[in-house]
């Protein structure tokens, strides 16, 4: 393994040079509407500061090259991971962080071998206070009020009142360290596309590191492949009516429902409703104004009215729906791509397989009759199940294209996945 001559360390001295106390922020999602609040702070304009230059990292070979806002991808964890840093990056001083999690909170470092190994490799004690997504706003706001923000903290775009004032007061100005070509000194950060940095700029200063996860936050419909296989039902949907029929087939009076909630995005995708905003004639148009929106909502209403959605769908949080999927109470789950890995923390059986059901156009062939009568025998189950296979995900509809989806899905991800 050749070591690359890289020193990615941002030392405390470096940071302190930058401003008041220590603190930076990681922004979740590509961008989001910042809430100016009443706390003051000039309106953020990305034009007033040179965003970090995008310098793709060439140190490792990726399996799939990303484009249009989709990040590079590896198909498997590298068999022989490269060592990229010259020694541990930490300078021995503790780093404390506040972050949100959609899975359950892992045991603290003293009872956690993974964490201990990580700290060793980092060369410092990295203590992340992880907070369940549902509690994050409470926790974040009380941390602000109690002046207890740690060295690093995550911010949910659009959910922090008075963000610019807060950042000016409590966060470190990273502009000198990262603006323009200065970022080249930190090749891993330079690998973040320039576009992503916009959300970190407030009052003309860079205050944080973006976490670009747009496409990962796109909503998809998962299916319990193993349950479908057992019933001889293919995890495919050819039309809106076909979907409705599938849901009917998966619902029974003995406490089984097809869905854990109304798959709003999935239905919208069928109607080719764009994600978030589109530009038409120089004006921004909300997806809610799209002609398919009303029909998609009506279809959602029908799913509920026909009893195909779990009766507690509206009163539970997403983790509960995942539990339903795991114990077979529901067969289809509306969630983001990033939800996939959560299931490792669930008591899943060896047979547990997940498939992703791509949305069809709403009128693409097929009739309900065909599904309910002949489908079972007409098609054989797909070939051998793969662990959590996403076999049919490639045919994304145009509406789910990440470049347009990032804005809305990113902010949505904060409350859902």
């Amino acid at each position: 393994m050749n070591m690359l001559p890289i020193d990615p360390r941002i030392t405390r001295r470096n940071l302190l040079r930058g401003g008041l106390g220590l603190g930076a922020f990681a922004v979740l999602g590509l961008a989001g509407c910042s809430n100016e609040g009443r706390g003051g702070g000039a309106l953020a304009t990305s034009a007033s500061v040179a965003l970090p230059t995008y310098i793709p990292f060439e140190g490792i070979a990726v399996d799939l090259k990303g484009a249009d806002g989709v990040s590079d991808t590896m198909l498997a964890y590298p068999a022989n991971p490269k060592t990229l840093t010259d020694g541990p990056p930490g300078d021995g001083q503790d780093i404390r962080a506040l972050a949100m999690t959609n899975t359950s909170i892992p045991p603290s470092a003293d009872r956690n071998e993974f964490w201990q190994a990580l700290n060793e490799r980092l060369g410092c004690s990295y203590a992340v206070s992880q907070v369940l997504a549902g509690d994050f706003t409470d926790r974040f706001q009380t941390a602000v009020a109690g002046d207890q923000l740690p060295d690093l903290f995550t911010i949910l775009p659009g959910q922090v009142p008075g963000l610019p004032g807060l950042l000016a007061e409590r966060a470190t100005d990273l502009t000198d360290l990262l603006s323009g070509d200065a970022v080249a000194k930190y090749p891993f950060l330079a690998n973040i596309p320039t576009e992503s940095w916009k959300s970190t700029v407030h009052g003309g200063k860079i205050y944080g590191i973006p976490i670009p996860r747009g496409p990962v936050s796109s909503r998809v419909t998962y299916a319990r492949q193993d349950l479908l296989d057992a019933q001889g039902i293919p995890a495919e949907v050819s039309s809106l009516d076909d979907f409705h029929a599938l849901c009917k087939e998966l619902t029974s009076s003995s406490g089984r429902w097809a869905l854990g909630q109304v798959p709003r995005e999935y239905l919208r995708q069928m109607y080719e409703v764009p994600n978030g905003w589109t530009e038409a004639g120089g004006k921004l148009v909300s997806a809610n104004e799209h002609e398919g929106q009303e029909a998609a909502l009506e279809e959602g209403r029908r799913l509920v009215a026909d009893g195909l959605v779990h009766p507690d769908a509206f009163s539970v949080e997403q983790p509960q729906r995942k539990t339903w999927l795991v114990n077979g109470t529901i067969t289809l789950l509306d969630d983001t791509f990033s939800a996939w890995s959560d299931f490792s923390n669930f008591p899943i059986s060896d047979e547990f397989r997940l498939a992703v059901v791509p949305p069809p156009g709403r009128r693409t062939s097929g009739s309900p009759a065909r599904r309910t009568t002949s489908r079972r025998s007409a098609r054989s189950p797909p070939t051998g199940p793969r662990p959590c296979s996403g076999s049919s995900t490639t045919s994304q509809p145009p509406s789910a294209a990440p470049s347009t989806s990032s804005r809305t899905t990113a902010s949505r991800a904060s409350t859902t996945s």
């Binding site: 359950s104 045991p107 907070v131 009020a145 109470t329 490792s344 669930f346």
Partner: protein, 308 residues
């Protein structure tokens, strides 16, 4: 309360006790039904919860959640939550906060109550007024939060104890009890040269056991049941009390994973069993102390109601 109604009655009609005729058959049946239904509404949910927590995983999974009549007993869920993970930890925090808190509360409340019962001493009238007026208002969430923050108690277990350690209502209850102690005993002890502290510990406390039992129960239950103060004041999840864990994993339905319990996820019993077991664990301490203190309820409540 002295029961005067069980005097022997001569058999025959009409039966009258203390001038009140005995209820007729219709009234008896109606009352019987009302009370039976009321008791069933309280008891049945607990039977369901306890049964489900004990039922075998297969039965719970098959029933889709709730089991009323378990076919077999399986303590797996209890073993899991006591395996040393987040629930065990929270249980200890709750036990610690409740026991230390109740001790502190009783100490502060009885000393203050005793002092306020010593009419005529300097400052007693003013302090009594302070206590009584504070019954009329509640400072509110935000001002309370600011005080806790200013005192530097955030993220400290003391934040769960000190702010609620003295309840003005309980002080009034205890004081009213002390006021009604026979003056002669106190006066003669004073003449014998007993100090104020001796009066309090040798006369006041021993004579007020029943009221202390009730006030102690109120405090204890208060500490045990509190969850919102922890949500506000404790950003460190490792210091969460049981009620907050209960909220997260039972009310909000967050998956209680293998990580939380310190065990392998594959070995987890059904989520419902775990939830019910946590629920049972959080109720049991209350059930344990309840029968011993129950007979003092009326006395404790009445002393407080008649403000002196």
């Amino acid at each position: 309360m002295i029961d005067t109604r069980r005097r022997a009655q001569p058999r025959g009609k009409p039966q009258v006790i203390d001038g009140v005729a005995l209820p007729g058959p219709v009234e008896r049946v109606v009352k019987g039904i009302i009370l039976t239904v009321a008791c069933a509404l309280v008891i049945l949910p607990f039977v369901g919860i306890i049964s489900t927590s004990l039922a075998t995983p297969e039965q719970v999974t098959q029933a889709g959640g709730f089991v009323f009549l378990p076919t077999g007993i399986d303590l797996g869920a209890y073993r899991m939550i006591f395996a040393g993970g987040v629930v065990t930890q929270a249980l200890w925090i709750s036990v610690l906060v409740t026991s230390v808190g109740t001790a502190i509360s009783l100490a502060l409340t009885t000393t203050l109550g005793w002092a306020l019962s010593r009419r005529g001493a300097f400052g007693v009238r003013a302090m009594l007024l302070l206590v009584l007026v504070s019954l009329l208002f509640n400072p509110g969430i935000i001002p309370s939060y600011l005080v806790v923050q200013q005192l530097g108690l955030l993220d400290s277990l003391w934040a769960l104890i000190i702010p609620t350690s003295v309840s003005a209502f309980n002080v009034v209850v205890v004081r009213a009890f002390f006021v009604r102690l026979p003056h002669e005993i106190i006066d003669s002890a004073r003449i014998d040269g007993a100090s104020e502290w001796q009066l309090f510990t040798r006369i006041g406390l021993p004579l007020s056991k029943p009221v202390l039992a009730v006030v102690g129960l109120f405090y204890g239950v208060g500490y045990w049941n509190a969850f919102f103060n922890a949500l506000l004041y404790m950003s460190d999840a490792s210091k969460w009390p049981l009620q907050l864990v209960l909220r997260t994993f039972v009310v909000d339905g967050t998956q209680l994973g293998g990580q939380d319990l310190g065990i392998d996820a594959g070995a987890l019993p059904p989520q419902t069993s775990l939830q019910m077991a946590i629920l049972v664990v959080s109720v049991v301490p209350v059930l344990l102390v309840y029968p011993f203190l129950q007979r003092h309820f009326a006395q404790g409540m009445l002393t407080g109601a008649v403000k002196g």
